[in-house]
Amino acid sequence: MRDIRKKILIFRQETWSGPFTAKTDSSAPHTSERTVTFQVTMSQNAQARALAIGATAALLTVGGIYFGSGQLEHFDPALFWYAIASVLAAFAVGYRFTLWASRPPSRMYFKRALQMLLRSGPKYAAAKAPSAEVEIAKSAAVNFGAQNFIRKRSYFRWIMHLCLSGGCTLAFAVTFPLVFGWIHFGTPLDDAETYQVIAFGITVDTFSIHSVKAFLAFNALNIAAVFVLIGLVMAGYRRLTDAGERAVQTFYEDILPLILIAAVTVTGIALTISYKFFDGLYHGSMVWIHLITVVALIFYIPFGKLFHMFQRSCALAVTAYKKKGGAEAQAKCLVTGEDYAPQRHVDDLKIVLDQLGFNYRYTTEDGQEVHYQDISPKGRRRLIALNQGKALKR
């Protein structure tokens, strides 16, 4: 990989002058042998690395459960199957994330973000270098917290997504620590009216069972369920009525996650209704139905639409990368003569294209290389039309 970059950098340093005849050689091999070999070894490595990281994630979860619950002292056996599903899902998330992050373009962004944090990597002339830490923190607050970009797409979808993501996050924040035995509850020996929250064996909070805090704590999952239900109704309405969405949506990617989340929410609320208003009618069998829906949802997360909650981490790297590139030297289009993108971005894309097996290179008469990446999107649109006109002699 270093070889390729060196070659491109050498080429970029040369000041390229005057007109030349670009040779279009269709008999040339599609990709160089070096690139192909690189791809094969990378995909095998990525597979092995993904298995290793998936296994590590699963082991960490097991370790977290064992030690976090005081060597299973506070582990709730009733939640055994939830714990098993969590461990398997941890493996799947680790595996899929690594495979995805190993793809050349994703890898490039994560690598560059890491280099920005470590103050290394390729250097370009820059006006002022914005701090990568600040950019990443800002992006996390604006994009992950406030989800501003969805608000700009539409207020309806913003509220819908805040309800769904907020509700699910709250529900997971309550259930995972309970499943793992990290948090359990107790009462002092002399006072049954006081409730203690014990995390990792340490009492972190104490409140009266008649307090507002108690109400919120006991009903956290029900509150989460209400938000999720609002989001689900909005999402369902959109899936049924939005003509643009209906044209491109698929069952597996867009409908199934809504069905799974709805199943979890409805069976969860049914449990509450059962013990609050019907003296636990069908509670025993409902517990199992709820368990099955939750396990199905947890298994869907690594393999479907909901995986975007992990994939969007790449947005943090991209925001910092774009800010940095924006303050640096810009690439000038060979056709329009205008700046069109950060030089850093153009150079990195050339490396990514090589790794993917694309070869958009031209050779000049005197053997110099010209890369099609050095032409802006606008220049390309003009080039195609001009070349068609040339072929038609118009």
Binding site: T24, H30, K152, Q311, R312, A341, L349, F358, A385, A391
Partner: protein, 234 residues
């Protein structure tokens, strides 16, 4: 499996027929999957020296570069060979696709943090209707229909192979080109920044605006050479 509608009907693009009326741009925004945004580009080739315009739609590459360079795995090609706009939950608005597309097609909506592109009006074509732009194009620069029909009414030949240096790109959309050509070689050297276009001396067909006397006005010639012009008297 390509649906029978796409087996029978194809998109044929002849940019040289474009009259720059913008009907396609207006119609494009009407499409449900485009949500009010025109995805087609109407490119002015070299405005100071000529009136040539060119519509640019997605060519729907068989092996789409945009999808391959997407770090978020957000760009998908369906069974019909249509390359769709970025998946909304996934797109991280990095612009890799915008810079890498050999045809300059994807558009980045920075506010939405979302790449949107021409999807051949999938809300329409998936139910057997023509794409918006081809429906309204008065000069049939954008033509959607049967291959036999285009072969019957045109002298030009539809090809779907482009040569960018050493990279061959095959597309779903056809480009009309010279009858003797099998592909469209994309040459850079003739069209570099700063160089002026040399119109061929003898041109086939009827005399047209490009040959009219207005282009020999000294001011226009100076403009074409990027030299300063004080005031235009046309």
């Amino acid at each position: 499996m390509v649906s029978s509608f796409f087996q029978e009907n194809e998109f044929f693009l002849d940019q040289s027929r474009c009259i720059g009326c913008q009907a396609c741009v207006q119609a494009c925004g009407e499409c449900d999957t485009h949500r009010g945004h025109a995805m087609i580009h109407l490119e002015y080739i070299d405005r100071p020296t000529g009136v040539q315009t060119a519509p640019v739609v997605c060519m729907h590459c068989e092996d789409p570069t945009c999808a391959k360079v997407c770090p978020a795995d957000a760009i998908k090609q369906d069974d019909d060979g249509i390359v769709h706009s970025a998946a909304k939950p996934r797109c991280v608005s990095c612009s890799n696709c915008v810079i890498a597309c050999p045809f300059g097609v994807p558009k980045m909506n920075q506010g939405y943090e979302l790449m949107m592109k021409c999807d051949m009006c999938y809300d329409r074509t998936s139910v057997g209707k023509k794409p918006m732009c081809a429906t309204v194009c008065p000069s049939d620069a954008l033509f959607f229909g049967k291959r036999e029909e285009i072969e019957r009414i045109r002298q030009e030949k539809p090809v779907n192979e482009f040569q960018f240096g050493m990279q061959t790109v095959k597309t779903k959309v056809n480009m009309m080109t010279a009858p003797e050509a099998d592909n469209v070689p994309v040459d850079i050297s003739d069209f570099m920044a700063g160089s002026t276009f040399q119109l061929p001396q003898s041109r086939s067909g009827a005399p047209d605006a490009a040959l009219s006397a207005v282009f020999e006005l000294p001011e226009i010639v100076r403009l074409a050479k990027d030299q300063p012009v004080e005031e235009l008297h046309v």
